[in-house]
Symmetry: D2
Subunit: 331 residues, 4 copies
């Protein structure tokens, strides 16, 4: 749909003053086929983005209220906005033939939207995005956990007990860039805690919805998120009880085949445990497979950058796919 | 056995130059009924402990090789030494009527020793310590995880599926105070990783041994430890599938009764998630109970200081118990 | 004035929900001669302090608005409140014979109050506190910097050039426990910056006022504070150009004599540089002296805990002094 | 000397397994006109670099002992090696017409080498590098401090007192990637300390040598380095006493003119203090100017990434200059 590479994709970024907005800007100012035409940031309207983030200099652009967007010269809008914001505007944009990539949770449960986890749903994304559409960019925990679980649930769903555990561990940037006492440095350094246990985190229904679709059966995971004293990075440790006799060799084979052509998926060998720092500022996911023979349990750990692969670089991967660019363009 | 409170317990500390050794010294120099008579530190023999740890000043004592210990004026020796060291000397000490509290893993699988998790095995410790004995001080992950699991496995072992998951998260001090590139600051800050997955961590057999004893049936847990970028603190998140219909109210009742008189166990309410920082430099454990109704899973999170409750303050709690002092003396 | 040790000092703590308030509570619940009678926290009025800080459990007390304080059973009130709060109430308290220790900046420039840096002004504090009075507890940077500079400026003020530089480095807790985006974890981890350069920090006039008093001549320092990615701890590096020929041996002698009987001042030897962690949770200050022979410059580094010696434990040291207890009681 | 852009610069990197080596690799695998032909790492010889640093994958190359380098297909060798290593080999390389960029301290005092601080010595570097030569890449503290001081010392050296103070603050990566107890995480998190005070740091004579050259008079600075609990980033705070009457407007003008065409130098406005995180992974330096009117002191703070601008990206900037590429190629 965008084969004319002489033209740049004209993008707007809403939520420019947050961490995912900042990452989108950093990626897109170096993207050879995109051009930032609009920065929306309601709470910072009127400020220059390089005054908010001096590291962006010499790039400079004024932040504006979303209402000021000039839709005639925009091809795509990224919404890195608080939940509830995107859904107010997304339909109008689609009607005007403008693509929407929604990094918030607004459209992840909407059957009219496509779920933008490219490695799993590439064909569906391509199919549904021939005309302007809304791509629901996956959550950070769900990106990591689904990448870890999809090969098994897709290939041998009956080989695993349905009592699936996902223990999530995220850096603090996942809580956003906002004034809250609970996330100030002194509250969190040298500290660790779980939160939203027992199904209270919004990524739990997202896991269930997407994993059920992949497994072609109802999946209901346990998901326990934890706040880790680091800014960036995310790890999920997933536990699957095997109810059929499958060797680790077969499991590695399933993963290798499932992700055979995926340039952003790195399957580590047995003795190399994933370090979240390896994924920082990249669109990569590092997967490690372990079978605990004495309990017949599969432990799959998966490390990503929560703000990049878990949000902004994945959003650009979606843009690249939809606009028929090489998926790693600018990434 | 030590009812004469006019006399102080004369203790030796081996492994004085490590983090658990340092914590033992800090606790014991303020302990009203103990007196440090010997500091063993083979690699730092000849150095003064306040040169190694200037924060200890004005306390000062020369570190010596273990061989130099004068056994005539010692009642108890703490071994905060690398694995393999304590077992070389422990029998001789017992024969000379000197108590041994072994913070290393040397005696945790020895039927001749008592497992020093006071809240669970108090009666057994009292019983077996009437004469000089070896107390195997529990590991850090196992302290946290067993405190979380014991009430259920002790009271209603048949109500839970045996597919128990323990996801452990520890501060870096658990790796010890030694020269290794993998634990230098730049390798670990802003980083998170699992390690020793699939049963390779030595606390896994310790979990199985002790939990089986508590449950009066064979328990075989999955245990996955993770390295968290903080110095001190440890959290275990334990997942138990309920196979009988038990309400969270009943579960809270079981915990409240099991730990009714325990001054170091803090059972948090539903909306207060444990923060490891609350346990720092204390002998406390903070427990949180959550039942995920949709999966019938119990998630028990438990926060301790890995070096205090997970090692040194627990060792002093054992000393207090054995020497018939109030358990929280000096803690 | 308080020789009857059978009675406890009845204290109120205003600003209980902040970091200095928390430290005051921790110290005072273990203080053998003090009893907390009132916790003021206007923004958290009605909440129990152990719900705000679960680590305090089993200590529990409801926070109230300051107006609810019952003055008949209070001997002393600590104000760990935002600037401007204490001065509204302090006079009324004094008139009712209640001592005020003000940890805010409200009274540090008031000639009617005594400046509570005990090591320097002990006699004056004793003299002025015979009746109820206001003690202006020093700022954190000023505590560290004045302890470093006082021996020289007091003993040989004419030997140093008046171009004195104080480079301050503080943990983030110094910014308080409040909801501000600039101090959230993700903004500050792996980051370092100066702030309030060029005399904009309120501790600069405090330095000048107090150092001038000590030196008996006008002192005008350069003071540059920096925010360090750690929660607690503070270091000042002070640079003094020597204009007379004085050896490092003479300088060490001046310091050793000046602090001869001070139990909280630790003068390190030449090869031991102060580490802020040594001072954590203590009332100690660690001083290091270095003479750069090639530039004839004295570099004095000084490490404290910004919340303890820099605020709360120093406030309790003042209370102990005023109420004729041993200065280190409960510290 | 390298105008044929159809050919790539063939580079070797010695010290590939350290932090500066890793940064060089990351920069050079994305550099459009360079090609890595050799990775030297004596202690890791035989290992693949992507096994040491999995984040480099899919880039892979075996590390070798330096002796195995094949000099016939190398144009330039970067030495990111311990001090003393480069000088053993540099002369032979020059004789074989191979450029040497030495990131160690071996050649910074050698009059036969050029000091590679491009913003200050660009003409001299171009002049001396017409044939193969050794470029002594500046130290990290000196890069930051000299960039801060050069405009004044170059333009108005007589306007400042010679009592110059440089207070340096560096992330831990500056200590290298090696097994030393003093730099393990638990020793350094929540901790801060000075080190090598009184002229003991090797960057002090480097400051004096280079600043004297810039000022055309003898300069002898005070330099006090400090270890900050963060991995990357470096700030110097420099204090200059003005002995002539110069306004901050004039000073800003001097800086703006001195760095007029420098794309990597960012002069911040008065109210924007430099944050080291803004410089991370970049070749940028952020400078802030402040005149303290009451003491007539100029405070210049300067923030860089100690591993990038302070070492590796600066080394590539030198390569670009010498090989007649745009200076920011690949940066």
């Amino acid at each position: 749909m965008f084969k004319d590479l002489s033209k740049k994709i004209r993008v707007g970024i809403c939520g420019a003053s947050g961490y995912t907005g900042l990452a989108l800007i950093k990626i897109l100012i170096n993207h050879p086929h995109a051009e930032i035409k609009f920065l929306g940031a309601n709470s910072s309207a009127g400020q220059y983005i390089d005054d908010i983030f001096p590291e962006l200099s010499p790039f400079s652009m004024k932040c504006e209220e979303f209402e000021n967007i000039s839709l005639v010269d925009i091809d795509l809008v990224f919404f890195a906005t608080p939940n509830g914001f995107c859904e107010r505007y997304s339909k109008e944009l689609i009607e005007r033939d403008i693509y929407v990539i929604d990094l918030s949770a607004d459209h992840r449960f909407d059957d009219n939207c496509v779920y933008g986890l490219v490695e799993i749903f590439r064909e569906e994304i391509i199919e549904k995005s021939k005309d302007a559409c809304i791509i629901a960019n996956p959550g950070c925990y769900t990106t990591s956990g689904i990448l870890a679980l999809a090969p098994i649930l897709s290939s041998i769903p009956d080989a695993v007990d349905d009592h699936i555990i996902i223990d999530g561990k995220s850096g603090i940037s996942g809580a956003g860039r906002k004034a809250e006492t609970r996330i100030i440095f002194t509250e969190l350094n040298e500290n660790l805690s779980p939160y939203n246990l027992g199904g209270k985190h919004r990524h739990r229904p997202e896991f269930n919805r997407i994993l059920s679709k992949i497994a072609h059966k109802q999946i209901n995971v346990n998901f326990a998120p934890h706040l880790i004293p680091m800014s960036f990075g995310l790890l999920t440790t997933s536990y699957l009880k095997l109810i059929k006799n499958i060797s680790i060799v077969e499991i590695r084979k399933i993963f290798n085949e499932y992700y055979e052509d995926e340039i952003f998926i790195k399957i580590l060998d047995e003795n190399t445990y994933p370090n979240t720092k390896w994924a920082l500022k990249s669109n990569n996911a590092f997967l490690h497979l372990c079978k605990d023979e004495s309990t017949n349990t599969l432990i799959i750990s998966s490390a990503i950058d929560n703000i990049y692969k878990g949000a902004s670089s994945q959003a650009v991967q979606n843009m690249n796919l939809v606009f028929e660019l090489a998926e790693n363009t600018g990434l």
